[in-house]
């Protein structure tokens, strides 16, 4: 919708004022930084004088303290010098006039849908066309430039990116675009040109650059890759799960939901149900690495349920060993006790019953 010229002029005037305020802030920075250098220089000079005096009077004990003080002043002076140098080298900022901003706003109005000025939020707002990247529909986005933020940081943080028909990543609904999280754009290669454009008052260029980032996908550095945008299907039950609820079986490498994943009772490794087996003795789920076939019985036993025979060293089920830790093969064969001879002496013979009368 075309804005009345009166409103555009008002907005252009407001923008021009903000750029001018920023230019004034920057202009004040250089003398401020230089005053800071002078302050540290004088403090250093004072400490050096005291050091000379201490040397002259032979005050050896005070020398270490003075040296430390001088080192501190040198460090602060170095830092202040570096900041002053940056301020002095920064090119002078000339705030564009209201006329220049009017042209910028007209250009935005011509090139974007739904151009508007939000006086309450102090923002210039435009809308992109619906964006689809690699067959994933992300919807249209509003690009909002908040001019008050310019005073703090003339960079991409002045922009909010609002999904108008949100199709966020399954794993995180705060990610509405591979390069947008919590309404903030991670501008990557566009960061520097956006900053330059804002510094110079080229508002339309900054908006174009933001749009270029939104319309392009960098698979090397997304918040969430488009390949995983729709989430992942559980390999077992087929349920769609986001990254936070997705588990990867370390054995087969497939993705599973939290209902279809488990842990080895022995080593705690993450395994899907298909990659876990039961110990034949304790019946606990175990991974293949932790189960071993025992000699003799042929049972698959976990490390808690198996032992090495104390005599032959064979791996056997712990339950099959005797008290001395011997496997059934090594346990001595039991010799049947001989039958007691008949009519032997009974140590505690039952008293003979009296004969019936």
């Amino acid at each position: 919708m075309t804005q009345p010229t009166r409103l555009l002029l008002r907005a252009a005037g407001r923008l021009s004022n903000f750029w001018r305020s920023r230019a004034q802030l920057l202009a004040r920075e250089e003398p401020y930084r230089l005053r800071y250098v002078r302050h540290h220089l004088e403090a250093l000079q004072g400490a050096l004088d005291r050091l000379d005096k201490a040397h002259g009077l032979g005050l050896e004990l005070v020398l270490p303290t003075l040296r430390l003080e001088i080192l501190g002043h040198l460090e602060r002076l170095r830092q202040a010098g570096s900041e002053a140098k940056d301020a002095m080298l920064r090119p002078g900022v000339q705030a564009p006039g209201a006329g220049a901003f009017l042209e910028e706003l007209r250009q935005l109005e011509d090139d974007f849908a739904d151009f508007s000025v939000d006086w309450r939020q102090k923002a210039i707002r435009v809308t992109t066309e619906p964006i689809t990247l690699r067959d994933i529909y992300l919807g249209p986005f509003a690009i909002q430039f908040h001019w008050e933020r310019l005073l703090h940081q003339p960079d991409v943080s002045c922009f909010d990116i609002v999904a108008l028909d949100p199709h966020p990543a399954a794993a995180n609904d705060r990610v509405t675009h591979p390069h947008v999280k919590d309404r903030s754009l991670c501008a990557g290669d566009a960061s520097v040109p956006i900053r330059k454009a804002l510094e110079q008052g080229r508002l339309a260029d900054a908006f174009y650059l933001v749009r270029s980032v939104l319309e392009h996908y960098n698979p090397g550095s997304p918040h969430i890759a488009l390949d995983e945008w729709e989430g992942t299907d559980c390999h077992d039950c087929g349920r769609n799960v986001g990254d936070d609820d997705r588990w990867c079986c370390e054995a087969c490498g497939c993705d599973f939901c939290d209902d279809c994943i488990g842990n080895c009772a022995s080593c705690d490794a993450t395994r899907c149900h298909g990659c876990l087996m039961r110990c034949d003795v304790c019946n606990e789920p175990c991974c293949a690495r932790c189960l071993e076939t025992c000699a003799g019985s042929g049972n698959e036993c976990c490390r808690h349920c198996r032992a090495s025979c104390s005599q032959c060293g064979a791996t056997v089920a712990r339950d099959d060993c005797d008290e001395a830790g011997r496997c059934p093969s090594c346990q001595p064969t039991s010799i049947p006790e001989p039958n007691p001879p008949e009519n032997t002496h009974d140590p505690d013979p039952e008293p003979a019953r009296p004969a019936s009368p």
């Binding site: 042209e103 250009q107 591979p178 390069h179 999280k181 754009l185 991670c186 501008a187 990557g188 290669d189 566009a190 520097v192 040109p193 956006i194 900053r195 330059k196 454009a197 110079q200 080229r202 339309a204 260029d205 174009y208 650059l209 270029s212 980032v213 939104l214 319309e215 392009h216 960098n218 090397g220 550095s221 997304p222 918040h223």
Partner: protein
């Protein structure tokens, strides 16, 4: 002749530069952004869309803005 050239690629700067008479938009693009493809850029002369063979005039404002630029996370 002198034109205002705004390069939003890489460092992103605006500067007044000297160009030869009869320089076209395509000539300037090739000279200033060698190795890049014009179709990956939004090219404007005096804020208006421009054709490749448009001849530049003194005082023109030419901006070249990449349309494929990689974001990050």
């Amino acid at each position: 002749m002198v034109i205002l050239f705004i390069n939003n690629h890489g460092g992103g700067f605006a500067d007044h530069i000297e160009v030869a008479e009869a320089t076209t938009v395509a000539d300037l693009f090739e000279e200033r952004l060698p190795g890049c493809r014009a179709e990956d850029f939004l090219i404007r002369v005096n804020r208006q869309p421009a054709s490749a063979d448009q001849v530049l005039q003194a005082g023109d404002r030419v901006s070249m803005t990449p349309t494929k630029i990689e974001g990050a996370r």
